[in-house]
């Protein structure tokens, strides 16, 4: 009986509606609707699923359009397509592996890996990203909070040298303390040497004196 614990939707079968499953589900045909599974869902080559998938793991070797949430892993095999130019797909998973084509927004809580055959058009949200040589990405890559970097003290043209060094020192110290836990070495902030002499405003007293002399000349 154990080998019967699976569901297969044949290549010439169309299911319209909702599927709930707690066993391995392979789609060789077409599904229009919602698939809820606490096991794995695979869309095989030639298979086509639209709408929503929620499962433990999802593998797409065929085509998927819509929204997918995988508790564990979402994989687009080589030749697989997720999303289209007309309609972005949205996928969420702990780990996302892209070896096929992906159009849309992908959010991974752990890692996104893009194989050499992978192509991405859209947005990748992930704390870690691995790309093989040959992988294509056209779009945004947002890695944690780094997508919105903390405003580094911008050396404005009138800022004084003393305040600049203070803020820089504060920034680098904060980086080293926060990043030690993640095992990632803090990227040293390149401290730009003041190549040009810092603009020094003329002493206020002189300016006032000049103005006063201008007034008196009138």
């Amino acid at each position: 009986m154990q080998d019967e614990q699976f569901t297969e939707i044949g290549p010439r079968t169309l299911v319209k509606g909702d599927i709930e499953s707690n066993e391995v589900l392979a789609v060789f045909g077409q599904v229009e609707g919602k698939i809820l599974s606490n096991s794995s869902v695979s869309i095989e080559e030639g298979g086509f699923v639209t709408s929503v998938i929620e499962a433990e793991t999802i593998i797409v070797a065929g085509e998927f359009q819509g929204e997918a949430i995988a508790a564990d892993q979402f994989e687009i095999s080589a030749g697989g397509l997720v999303g289209s130019l007309d309609q972005d797909a949205s996928i969420q998973a702990a780990r996302i592996i892209i070896a096929g084509d992906f159009i849309g927004e992908a959010t991974a809580s752990e890692i996104i890996e893009i194989a050499s055959t992978g192509r991405v058009l859209g947005t990748l949200n992930t704390p870690r990203l691995v790309m093989e040589d040959g992988a294509l990405v056209d779009g945004d890559v947002l890695m944690d909070g780094l997508s919105k970097p903390e405003p580094v003290a911008q050396p404005t043209r009138t800022s004084r040298t003393t305040t600049q060094t203070q803020t820089r020192r504060g920034f680098t110290r904060k980086e080293t303390t926060t990043k030690t836990g993640s095992g990632r070495t803090a990227v040293p902030v390149p401290i730009r040497k003041p190549a040009r002499p810092v603009y020094e405003p003329e002493p206020v007293s002189e300016v006032i004196e000049q103005q006063e002399t201008d007034d008196t000349e009138e």
């Binding site: 699976f6 297969e8 044949g10 079968t13 909702d18 599927i19 709930e20 095989e44």
Partner: protein, 108 residues
């Protein structure tokens, strides 16, 4: 390998199943099964649907009207609550049928 559709015992389908593949139901289907091939309702299956297929073979439970264009077979353990419309019908000892049987397909 996959020239058939198999709906396993841990799967519930709510909706329509259409197509040309043979369909094996081991789980639960609520809605409609309308295929051009054979529909096999296995012992573990519960089908609450209108079933329309070329051949229908039942050893599980079907609640709903059944149309088998060439044949309907109810095997031992099979349980049907609904009308059956077919050209040929086979009912085994131990099968249950509650409903009308219509073998006059010619008049639709």
């Amino acid at each position: 390998m996959a020239d058939a559709s198999i709906f396993g015992p841990g799967t519930v389908v709510k909706g329509e199943i259409n197509g040309e593949d043979r369909v094996f139901v081991r789980g639960k289907v609520v809605g409609t099964i309308d295929i051009d091939s054979a529909a096999v309702v296995e012992p573990s299956a519960f089908v609450k649907a209108k079933v329309s297929a070329k051949e229908v073979e039942i050893s599980g439970t079907v609640e709903g009207h059944i149309t088998g264009f060439s044949k309907v077979e109810i095997l031992p353990g099979g349980r049907v609550v609904g009308n059956v419309k077919t050209a040929r019908i086979l009912i085994s000892d131990g099968a249950v049928l509650k409903g009308l049987v219509d073998m006059d397909l010619g008049e639709g």
